[in-house]
């Protein structure tokens, strides 16, 4: 287990380094000089060469590129992600402010995904070819074809705007934007009116992955139910409930748990669209804003944070895998 942990940690560091390098190279293929862009207010004015030179010096982009790269990596190792071109705020501070909302949103979205997705998937598998099964399957297919931003906007419009205008009962109306009181107990449990702000974005963020998870659960359960050991369990006369709980579910849940873990990591970065529509102060929406502004240190730094969260989530999944399945931790690295 120890060496497995070491190997996986090393590969996480490698992925982070590689990601930073790719993004760094990408940014220095930029056709335009970020200092010029900032000095000209986004290309609206003719920039003063002296101002541009000063900005280049300030950002450290007057030095050779390789030196910028090594300096950046060195700084990242010590926890310094640079400062924003636009606001001069340290990127690490922006990250500290923007990460918690994203983590909370992803946490609740994964909870919804797990309960609704696994629940309906199991139901589909048990009552195969029933009306419920077809409804689940078709909903899942259609949901994966609807753009998240359309879904988010329509839900916001229905329960956030239309509901208020037409005096729907309080339980069916949700505030359309932001986080309200923004008060949390234990980091993740919303209090005050915060939970009302959380409902819509959490469901929207969970929607597509819930649909996919329901289908994965269904397939996995159907496959497990056809396995020999399940037939044996039935043959020896175990009650159906026992067969399901002890022999089918345990095995069928392995891929499902994997997907859940990966999804948590993905959602932190993939919440871009949801955060934008609901105007939530998360990492994704900040990356979009900064990308539009060519605020490269912020995009780069926050991308690294997103990669770190994603990497840690998949590390956790792998560890739980290795814990439950000795074959994984005893080599076989393919």
């Amino acid at each position: 287990m120890g060496s497995f942990l070491l190997r996986r940690t090393f590969s996480l560091i490698f992925v982070l380094w590689g990601g930073a390098t790719i993004l760094f190279l990408l940014f220095f293929l930029l056709p335009s000089n970020p200092a010029e862009l900032v000095a000209s207010g986004g290309g609206n004015r003719n920039p003063d060469p002296q101002v541009v030179a000063n900005l280049e010096k300030k950002y450290g982009i007057d030095k050779p590129r390789f030196q910028q790269y090594t300096t950046y990596l060195g700084n990242v190792v010590t926890g310094d992600l640079g400062t924003s071109f636009r606001t001069s705020e340290p990127v690490i501070d922006i990250a500290k402010r923007r990460l918690p909302p994203s983590l909370r949103l992803a946490f609740w979205a994964v909870l919804i995904e797990a309960s609704v997705g696994i629940g309906s998937g199991m139901l589909s598998a048990r009552k195969r070819n029933s009306v419920g099964d077809y409804v689940t399957t078709i909903t899942a297919v259609v949901l994966s074809a609807v753009p998240v931003f359309v879904l988010a906007f329509l839900i916001r419009q229905l329960t956030g705007v239309y509901a208020f205008q037409n005096d729907w009962p309080a339980w069916a109306t949700f505030p359309p934007l932001g986080y309200g009181d923004n008060t949390w107990v234990l980091g993740v449990i919303p209090t005050g009116d915060t939970w009302k702000h959380l409902v819509q974005p959490a469901f929207v963020l969970a929607s597509v992955s819930t649909a996919i998870l329901a289908r994965i659960t269904r397939t996995s359960m159907l496959e497990t139910m056809r396995m020999d050991h399940v037939r044996t369990a039935r043959a020896k006369g175990l009650a159906e409930k026992q067969v399901m709980r002890r022999h089918v579910l345990r095995n069928a849940m392995i891929p499902v748990i994997t997907v859940l873990g990966i999804d948590f990591g993905t959602m932190v970065g993939a919440a871009v669209l949801t955060e934008t529509v609901f105007n939530l102060p998360g990492l994704g929406s900040q990356i979009v804003l900064s990308a539009k502004d060519y605020d490269l240190p912020v995009v780069l730094g926050l991308s690294l944070i997103v990669m770190l969260v994603y990497g840690l989530a998949s590390l956790a999944v792998d560890l739980s895998y290795a814990y439950f399945n000795p074959r994984v931790r005893l080599g076989d690295d393919t």
């Binding site: 590689g18 753009p147 931003f149 397939t219 159907l222 990308a291 539009k292």
Partner: protein, 318 residues
């Protein structure tokens, strides 16, 4: 025990359509029990797959949608009005003259959507074609030569998979700028990873088979072995990935345009139209609904075809 008595019957759902030959119902067209004809020597693998595909209603619906999209893309522009003509009344609700209404600048929404779907299709096809070529090249080199090229390429894939898709796309677009070319490059450069992995694992399996050894033994040149003997045999999962990939590319383009980093304003991008429609949703909902239906229809078509292909070709793990 009821489950035991009912479940062992072959699953009529697509996932297990492969083992339905045992108790398949008589073919509705010929009236012949298909379990008999299925073992017949005359039908090719491709014909078999097509039969399975045809039996899958959702897949056929998807195929129908895709054909409809192609027809719209080819002859649609001849039938609709000029999408750039700003002569109409601003944000008019659907009328006889503009059956999908007009947008803020008085342009005909139906025309914009027809051109938009054509553009989506174009971007989806070109980006997926490029992505597939990159994926096949990388996967083939990795899987055939193994050794250090494999290590380097697969580490690159690991790293790029570690960067969340939308973040990587945003970073690329912020470098390449807006426009159709930039979006296509971004989509292709971020989407080839899965194809490369799939092709590689196919190569790793096939290259050990005996007929490859035989081909080597009689002195077939390596390039010919790769092209004629290995590639065709790893192609089935790639076809599935292509169908699904077109759908995801279209969704991704819409998302990038919606976020304001995709296509530029006059382009008839469906994502852009949806983004523009939001401020006036309460007064003119048609500006959101019609483009949204356009996207959903397009993506749905390709996803259904992809799913159907996966079942018909019995591809696992893609």
């Amino acid at each position: 025990m009821s489950g035991f008595l009912t479940d062992p019957l072959p699953d009529p759902t697509p996932e297990t359509v492969i083992d339905e030959s045992a108790t398949a119902p008589p073919d509705p067209e010929t009236g012949v029990d298909s379990s008999l004809s299925e073992v017949g020597p005359t039908r090719s693998l491709r014909a078999d797959a097509w039969r399975r595909f045809r039996r899958n209603r959702l897949a056929m619906l998807g195929l129908f949608i895709v054909l409809f999209l192609i027809v719209v893309a080819l002859i649609g522009p001849m039938l609709v009005q000029d999408p750039l003509d700003t002569g109409g009344i601003s944000r008019e609700a659907p009328t006889n003259q503009h059956i999908f209404g007009t947008d803020r600048l008085g342009r005909d929404v139906l025309a914009r959507i027809v051109y938009g779907m054509r553009l989506s299709l174009f971007i989806g096809l070109v980006a997926t074609a490029a992505e597939t070529l990159i994926g096949i090249a990388v996967g083939a080199i990795s899987g055939w030569f193994r050794g250090w090229p494999d290590t380097i390429l697969m580490r690159l894939v690991d790293v790029m998979l570690g960067i969340p898709y939308l973040v990587l796309a945003l970073a690329m677009v912020s470098v390449l700028g807006k426009g159709i070319g930039a979006v296509i490059i971004t989509l292709a450069a971020t989407a080839w990873l899965q194809t490369a992995r799939t092709v590689r694992s196919g190569f790793l399996q096939v290259r050990e088979l005996e007929y490859i050894e035989a081909a080597k033994a009689i002195g077939v040149p390596t390039r010919r072995i790769i092209w004629r003997h290995v590639l065709p045999n790893v192609f089935q999962p790639v076809i599935v990935l292509v169908a699904v990939g077109i759908g995801s590319a279209i969704l991704a383009e819409a998302a990038l345009s919606f976020l304001g980093v995709g296509l530029k304003a006059p382009a008839p991008s469906l994502g852009l139209m949806i983004s523009e429609s939001q401020s006036s949703f309460t007064t003119s909902p048609h500006l959101l609904f019609f483009p949204a239906i356009g996207i959903v229809l397009t993506v749905l078509g390709f996803l259904l075809v992809g799913d159907g292909l996966r079942d018909a070709l019995d591809v696992k793990d893609t």
